[in-house]
């Protein structure tokens, strides 16, 4: 692995109730980035990986750093193939495959992590989903106002090419795993609570995942749970 990502400098505290109040569209709102570090094997040093560096890296290489690119990795687990495991701290999403392997994708997560940990499932999926900003964003942000009725799916839509809607039982959690028109933000913490992947990756994941698939969100941002 050429780059090993890690996160630091984040603060947590987002409760799911607060997130629910924010509404669906907040997930796709891009804002400033908190800090991520990646390991540079040439200098053998951890280097800051912020929005500026991410942009310049992407401009130079036309892709994200190697660690965040889609790859098959060894992954020993008792979870069955088809299960998604999200490690927001390291900015990885694993899709469990047979024979103790997984497809690992790079992800971008919220400024405050995913906001919670636990088990959900893929309740439904959509291709080129419509993005509808929540009312308070429409009131606050003139750019969002024109999409008050919903921005149709397309290359500029913040939800990107595909969306997986995460449900707890039959309830939509309002959290999504979705694409992004800004692929350089993979590896950063720049939205509010949702998981972003570049459009090729979310399209690949979407093609492999069945509705009902188990999704495990790891501890990071585990404020949903008692005593945390």
């Amino acid at each position: 692995m050429a780059f090993l990502p890690q996160s630091r400098g984040r603060t947590f505290g987002a409760k799911i109730a607060a997130c629910l109040a924010l509404g669906v569209a907040v997930c796709a709102t891009l804002a400033y980035a908190a800090e991520t570090q990646i390991f540079d094997p040439k200098t053998r040093k951890w280097v800051e990986y912020d929005r500026k560096k991410a942009r310049s890296y992407y401009a130079a290489h036309k892709q994200v750093p190697e660690a965040f690119r889609r790859q098959i990795v060894k992954f020993r687990t008792a979870e069955k193939p088809g299960t998604i495991i999200i490690d927001g701290n390291q900015h990885f999403l694993y899709l469990v495959q047979p024979d103790f392997t997984a497809i690992r994708y790079g992800i971008g997560v919220g400024r405050e992590g995913f906001g919670w940990a636990g088990m959900v499932k893929v309740g439904r999926t959509a291709e080129w989903p419509t993005w509808t900003p929540p009312a308070e964003m429409v009131a606050r942000d003139p750019n969002a106002r024109k999409w008050a009725g919903g921005q149709p799916g397309g290359p500029d839509n913040p939800l990107g090419a595909r969306a997986l809607y995460l449900y707890q039982g039959d309830q939509d959690t309002i959290y999504r795993i979705h694409g992004t028109p800004e692929p350089w933000t993979i590896g950063l913490d720049v939205s509010s609570g949702c998981i972003r992947m570049n459009n090729d990756d979310i399209t690949d994941l979407h093609s492999r995942v069945a509705v009902g698939a188990k999704v495990i969100v790891l501890m990071q941002g585990a404020s949903l749970y008692k005593g945390v």
């Binding site: 008792a78 997984a102 088990m119 501890m219």
Partner: protein, 322 residues
């Protein structure tokens, strides 16, 4: 902790078993109550096929909760429970084994453990080997997964009876001050171990054995002072919801746990050879871990797994028959 999970699981009755019990039109010679956790399912089936092969009896496996199994052992509906955990089921054992004498425990015990574990990488590279290391914020900062500089340790599922005891232990030892204690379902805790192992990231977590995680990854239990009954002062939340934590103190390891096969006293009287056979069954903790791994990780069918196990362990069956 497995035993407490199992205790909770035992309160439920599978629909299938209800249907089987209500609609039972024929009777097998013996009924094995099957709990819903992997090693219990494997051992229930191994007992079935072993008795059928060596003693020539017709044995039925029925899935049901532990308390229902015990009621069945008492009433004559059920003959065998493959895994009775103690000290978790002490009160149930007291009622049926000691007082009513309607149930007997096999003398052979399988040892079980619980405590805090880490990946080998965590102990060797990051120097977290003993619970006392968790009191050092410099050491535990490597366990940070949420960016606040403080490490996290999963202490079990919110519903487990072991979890408040882990919280008491953390407070008693002092690491409740230096690490954040996480409570969440076991699948989340175990997936975190999988992800940590996949990226050589350090992790410390509550563990119990026998459990398949020990076969899945290189896991090391953190050392700690031995169990001392005089220092084990536990008040459970159910007994004092407001002050259980402050009233408790337990800066020592868990007491050794174990599980045994149980069978109805009347079954033993009716079929002494069965009682003798069950009393000779001597599963090792390693075998129980293999069973858990085969069913949970490899997703093998319990009945098919049991038949293969029987075929591969003719010598053990022979020994149990003596």
């Amino acid at each position: 902790m497995v035993a407490s999970t199992r205790l909770l699981r035992r309160s439920g009755v599978a629909l299938g078993s209800l249907m089987a019990m209500c609609g039972a039109g024929f009777a097998a010679d013996l009924v094995v109550g099957m709990p819903n956790w992997p090693s219990g399912q494997a051992s229930a089936n191994i007992i079935k096929y072993a008795i059928e092969k060596k003693l020539g009896l017709d044995v039925e496996v029925r899935e049901m909760g532990t308390l229902i199994i015990f009621a069945g052992l008492d009433s004559g509906e059920v003959d065998i429970h493959p895994e009775v955990w103690q000290p978790n089921l002490d009160s149930v054992v007291k009622k049926y084994v000691d007082e009513r004498k309607s149930v007997q425990l096999s003398p052979k015990k399988v040892s079980a453990t619980q405590g805090l574990c880490a990946t080998r990488e965590t102990t060797e590279k990051f120097g977290i080997k003993d619970v006392a290391d968790l009191k050092d914020p410099k050491k535990t900062s490597v366990l940070d997964t949420d960016g606040d500089g403080q490490g996290e340790v999963w202490i079990g599922a919110e519903t487990w009876s072991s979890t408040p005891i882990e919280r008491i232990r953390a407070r008693s030892y002092g690491y409740a001050e230096t690490v954040k204690l996480l409570e969440m379902p076991e699948d989340v805790g175990m997936a975190a171990v999988d992800a940590a192992a996949a990226t050589n990231t350090p992790i410390v977590f509550y563990c119990y054995s026998p459990h398949h995680v020990f076969n899945l990854h290189e896991i090391v239990q953190l050392t700690e002072p031995e169990y001392d009954q005089a220092k084990w002062n536990i008040v459970l939340p159910a007994d004092d919801p407001a002050n259980w934590l402050t009233k408790s103190n337990a800066p020592v390891a868990w007491a050794p746990s174990h599980f045994q096969i149980a069978f109805a006293t009347k079954t033993g009287e009716r079929l002494p050879k069965v009682a003798s056979f069950l009393s000779n069954i001597d599963f090792t903790p390693e075998e129980i871990t293999e069973m858990s791994y085969a069913l949970e990780v490899e997703r093998q069918d319990p009945a098919a797994y049991a038949q293969q196990w029987i075929a591969a362990h003719a010598d053990r069956l022979e020994a149990w028959s003596k």
